[in-house]
């Protein structure tokens, strides 16, 4: 008879499901679980802040509280499986504290094997044919690439489909990189005022018509737009807008079906159409405006200047993580993604504080993959950085070479300059006077990184920015943080949800 503790059973069950990393904060009785995990060959990363874990519980796809030790292996298998099958999502297992040190005889534990890859389904053949026929009638077609396309690894089929069909596309924030942002068919730079607004047929690939896409409704969309909705979740079909055609199935598989459909009779949407002309002109006009902003040589810099230069220096295979308001919003339009699943941000709910955790996870995995791996670049607003800034200690502790760029405008949405701040402070109690959006001007986030042995840079000019970023990108021994001071009034006029509804000029 071999006895196991609950902690050992949890660790073994996770290991069986090929879980390689555990992230947490120890305390009684988590210590035992963390130690058992290391003993079982799982790597343990100690964090500083439990906030992201809290978020998981509230939004988990599957949550369960095991009633006995015996069921833990199957509960873990079920949670891991549920996190990957169907629409992916976090799962939550709530294990009573006294189970961790309780004991169970191994012979009473049913052996559970690792769950296989998710099953794949295809769309109905008739519906595919109908979708192709709707596409052919389109005068102003548009493909929208969502995160479902990234999850299903549709990049190869999708590139062939887009190039064969000649269709313009744009990605959602989480769909960026499935096809490269500099692909000639990408019309992201004409997104809001033209592509979404005037499209008459939209092929929606694994994207939800939620607030990020303005619910697919007027005045941001043509009221008569025909939507071909491709999703693996039946319940998602028809949310907010009734689709002209609903294609239920794995995105990669359905894109392949669509590709076969258009290949059969050699159809292609011409590059000389009026729609393409409109799109190209809009893109060129917007590029010109951005360029003008980007090349302004004022100090402090504006957002566009910062992102212009960052964009030039980042390697194409880096993983970009981003959170913040203006920073995430403008950064998304200025920083190109070239590879699928190389971008993480605050997501549908705009959850602040997730960025550094994402970066730590990505960097840990990247290092275990080989020599140096890909670069992890974290682009943070100054307020966003504050939610979990102490995690830089974690990066330093494990020597994770993350590059953090804090775009610092002294506030949330906007701040004030040091001089104005000092004047306000003289006027009386800042809790009565200071606008709620303001933070301490020119706060030295770079020194927070330096406090733990990472490299911090204070950046005010283009030259400093380029130099600091180049140095950071060559340092594989420690994390770096660029504290990029920009014009605190760089923000334009307030919009509703300004960080996500901001148009592309």
């Amino acid at each position: 008879m071999e006895e196991l503790t609950g902690a050992q059973l949890i660790a073994e069950s996770l290991k069986t499901q090929n879980v390689e990393y555990m992230f947490g904060i120890v305390g009684v009785p988590i210590i035992e679980v963390a130690m058992a995990a290391q003993a079982a060959g799982i790597k343990y990363v100690g964090m500083r802040n439990e906030q992201a874990v809290e978020a998981c519980r509230l939004f988990s796809k599957f949550s369960v509280r095991p009633s006995s030790l015996e069921v833990i292996p199957s509960v873990v298998e079920k949670a891991v499986r549920a996190s990957m099958y169907g629409r992916p999502g976090a799962c939550y297992i709530d294990i009573a504290g006294d189970m961790v040190n309780a004991k169970v005889d191994r012979s009473q534990i049913r052996v559970v094997s690792c769950c296989p890859d998710p099953p794949v389904s295809l769309a109905d053949h008739g519906a595919v044919a109908e979708a192709v026929s709707v596409l052919k009638t389109a005068k102003r077609p548009l493909v929208i690439i969502g995160k479902g396309a990234a999850y299903s690894r549709a990049e190869t089929a999708l590139r062939e489909f887009v190039e064969t069909s000649g269709l313009p596309f744009l990605p959602t924030p989480m769909g960026k990189g499935v096809l490269p942002d500099d692909h000639p068919h990408c019309v992201a730079a004409a997104r809001s005022r033209l592509a979404l607004l005037q499209a008459d047929v939209i092929l929606l690939l694994g994207a939800r018509l939620n607030w990020i896409l303005h619910f697919g409704l007027p005045p941001r969309f043509d009221p008569n737009v025909k939507i071909i909705q491709v999703d693996l979740c039946a319940e998602e079909m028809g949310n907010n807008v009734r689709p002209a055609v609903a294609l239920l199935g794995d995105i990669n598989a359905v894109v392949t079906q669509l590709l076969q459909g258009i290949c059969k009779d050699g159809w292609k949407y011409g590059s000389g159409t009026e729609w393409w002309s409109l799109l190209r002109n809009k893109i060129a006009a917007n590029a010109k405006i951005s360029k003008t902003l980007a090349l302004q040589s004022t100090v402090p810099m504006n957002y566009y200047t910062v992102f212009h230069h960052v964009s030039q220096l980042l390697p194409h295979d880096c993983i970009i993580i981003s959170e913040g308001a203006n920073t995430m919003d403008i950064g998304r339009t200025m920083l190109n993604n070239y590879l699928p699943r190389h971008r993480l941000d605050a997501g549908t709910f705009g959850t602040m504080g997730v960025g550094l955790g994402f970066a730590i996870a990505a960097a840990t995995l990247e290092r275990s993959n080989g020599e140096k791996g890909r670069r992890i670049v974290c682009v943070e607003g100054d307020s966003a950085f504050g939610f979990s800034g102490m995690e830089v200690e974690t990066m330093c502790r494990y020597n994770l070479p993350v590059v953090i760029i804090v775009v610092n405008n002294n506030g949330i949405y906007s701040g004030v300059d040091p001089e104005t701040w000092r004047e306000m402070a003289k006027m009386g109690d800042l809790t009565s006077i200071a606008p709620p959006v303001t933070l301490l001007p020119e706060a030295r986030y770079d020194e927070v990184m330096a406090a733990f042995g990472g490299k911090g840079y204070l950046v005010r000019t283009v030259e400093e920015l380029r130099s600091a970023l180049e140095l950071s990108l060559t340092d594989w021994q420690r994390p770096s943080l660029l504290n990029v001071l920009i014009d605190p009034s760089s923000d334009r006029k307030q919009q509703e949800f300004p960080w996500l509804t901001r148009s592309n000029l």
Copy 2:
């Protein structure tokens, strides 16, 4: 400007989604909703007991509390759509009471159309080929037909598949009738001790490996059984047993794919195999035992005698509704279903009290479909009947010609005879003495029906049973209730979950 009340908006939103019936109990402020529903052309059935509604809330697939009147049409559309798309399920909309009489300008309400039929997906072609190849290797194959097959209306494809392939099948409780119970390939009568136990390959069509199927695990299943799992829900794949092949897609569509697969090379599982011989012998032996029990001429009758005669008299197209412990369990094996979606019972959770509500809903719909419609037959244990027995008033009120058969053993699982009961009562306080399972002996449930103008029959013998049932089946003017007194000790020894795990002899 046209003003609508919340009640009118709710009613119109339901009508737009083709909701034809509303069931409820009025009270402030439900009266207004019920009246608005009738005004909008929805039929209203007033019930006596809200229990089933409570159950809905707890187990609803989608639940929502609208934050304003304006969103009600889209919330109703979403709830109706969610109830049908993917795995079907009840949805719950919780509308604040003060919204019912609040008013809104119609011009502010976005028009929402009726949601279309659910989208359909196919299984991956490679996985279908693999499934066919596994089937061909089977020595002791078995098809299990679950309620998913009924939901997807797979009956036509499935009959062709079973007959073409030559495979034996058995239905789950909710899968009964997709193919007729008297189909020559049906091996339900050899279910537990042979078919499930010894099958080496199982094609699982829209059925869950939950406790009803003993979780697909030993000792009730062969530990090496290969399961080909067909389901439309990705997260269901691999629950409790890892499938040899997972076919994700609409059951009807996937059965059609499998049929094409076996047709391609003309494969058929032979009727002369040893497995078929074993199955046929077991079926014959069990039939003999059942027959012996069924033909016992003792009074009081036993379960088998009752169901034998009921089975002979029921029309093949009747809709059988059933709840109870022994009654539902034995009745399921003795009362054949011949048509798909013609059976409703207490379901996965064994929820008591749903039977009469199901019967009222079925009878209301049936009547609206034409002259007399199909017969609704409700087979109830006496304890089960008690949960919502007052609903016979509803049947009488609307002249719904439901036939209720109460199989009355004076208790739950088992009871005592009147003589024993009187002796116990003399011994002292019955709350201390009477076994918790006992109910009043020979309670006159038939008179409860008669109290409201329905027809009640007290039945003790085979002759009375046949006569009463024949009369009931010819009366289309009112409901009937047969109070069938059986031997209170008719139950056999207690098993775990006796009403559902009872083997088929």
Copy 3:
């Protein structure tokens, strides 16, 4: 080493806390708990419907799910204690099914004793003095007696206080009987249009200013009314209206303090004041109107006639249970209570279906108290009866001599007569035509009782009513049900919450 099953431990833990009765519906694994309870000397009453239990869970004061068998005794003690200490309320213990048959060594169970009576607190002396001084300034004082006064057994002190102070009082629905309804100081018959509306100082004894008391706000109360609030729950103080004086403490203790306060200087509110004249005149006028209605000799009878005669025949010490809309509302004003804690009704939430369960519990307890005990009289609306009408079988099974009076108006709030119903039925489908409030006319609820061996009476006239009630009240062998048919249009014009806001004429 002595082993206990979970069921035995639950039973023993309840017995230790002096729990004498268990009510339930057996099923796996409740059977074991029920049998263990009987073995431990707890009486078990098998019910037909679980609805009331559901309600408990949702509204429980304390709910807990024990994590191990060992904690059950202390969890049970805590639940029993919490149900009685502070503001009383139901508690819910959710025990995992597999604990029932699990075993534990008795030596591992910490002995827990029965919890003592609740502790009692007094109001602050200064606040009592202030309350007395406010009372003395009152021109139009009023005492409102709530259920808190009943819980704290304040009847003796309260009678002395009311008679010594000379103040008028009225009870809330649950406060009825703490002082007799026919007490000369009771002004319930002038409640809404005078007493509540014009009082300038209200002494509120254990009653909440919720919707039953119109939140204590205009237009139903004087906007300048001063409220002396007496409650044992600090958080209740100031709900909806800020009190002039808040007296925190046990109601009985605080009433005693107030009595001492007014006794000290011999203050008394004179019986010759204008306020007493107004109140007495209003009471007399209302009595005259009620009398006129009560003595109408029409058939069918109206509510007032029914309650007038019932009131005359009921023994003063009977326990009245009531639920329904008009029935509960009008019955409350017409049926006097003479003793504290002798009335139960649908309560603050108007929960339908609780009446028969209350009656069974009261009758079971009453019988165990002695020879015949007090009469349990259940006054039910016909719709209310439908929620749990099958419980009459439970009454018959245990020979509980409950007297049920169903005041039957063929509907909810109001119904139609048989002739009108037949005409409607000819016009088409009743689900489209029948008002949602209607039930089957002249439904024979009396026969439902007879079906199980109880005594049923169909009552149409005053003579039949008096005769049936007299017979029922002398029969101690079985339950009786009087099905009293009244004028289905007896209801007056609809009001918001008509069953509870109806004024006293």
Copy 4:
């Protein structure tokens, strides 16, 4: 007609309830609320991390979601009132985002006034007499002072009671300071191994017998101890141990009653008893051991040395805030409190991350009270500091002169020294090798403070500690942080909940 936005209504409702400060993180649509609050005269403090707010929601005493703008004033009044009446606790109001900018006519808003102070109740006179009589029989009496005594402001009455009665007392963690820790009757230094263990009568004043007091059970308490429980919450009476006497009422009022009780006949527990001798000897012995540890002159220092010197320098009226494991535990025994309600810590649930937020709140309030106010001293473990360390920016932004002492042992419970850490790093991936409790050795938390303009000190020796603390305590212009490096193996052997069950030697 005057229109108000929801934001204005929220702000005004809070102002009416005398809410003076708002703490938060702006984002859409909180900006509007924060600005409206400032406009209404409420001070706004912008924070960096929302974690503490999350905790509030989960553990709130009262939580509500207003269904319309009109109810906001009364909901706010109710929440503020509930937070203070009865047992105090946080309340949670969840306001839908779209309400903030919605508008309402002021005339439709019912005026709600500020809720008055909580009502006060007394214990029953008989129970008080019984308690006095039990006290008189005690051979080894003990008074335990809990946070209920602090909430009720019982300090004056309690000091007189303790001195008049001659009884020994000890405070719970949250009861520290109600009487000064250096009071001659304080026996905290003999807490676990003597006072709790051997007391035969305990007067429990507003303290719960939860895990902090070992549930009042053996082996940490005498099984025959008689407990006189004083609490304002009836439901708390008898939790875990049945009290000999239960005194329900306001702690201050009941202590006054007890004082009158013992004064009546001049009873006093003698200072020459054997119990007092035992206690005094134990205190002296423990003081000697602590002193020995405190005076060790090794570098790195140990916990006792650090706290010994800190204790000597802190002003008696400072407010001590503390969180961490060993840091909070040992610090509680070494740092005296001299005034009531001058201490805040991680509380019953050991919630990490609350310390800096508490400090900011206390410092903001203190400044508004006058010139410099009292000193706010925050004693943090290094791990605890990590949960919300970025809040030092908030302190710097508002120039809040908080003194933070980080007792840094390079880990959670214990860490490793830099040399060992470097050796481990050479051995391979730290995620596999480093104990889960370790953090980066000698992390420079002082530089985090300096990064935002506060004063940081790195402290290794007694001299550095004293010097840095003295400088910090004279600086009222900015916050300071002392990063006190101690021996990372300073922890003793692991105990269950080591930070709170650690005995006092």
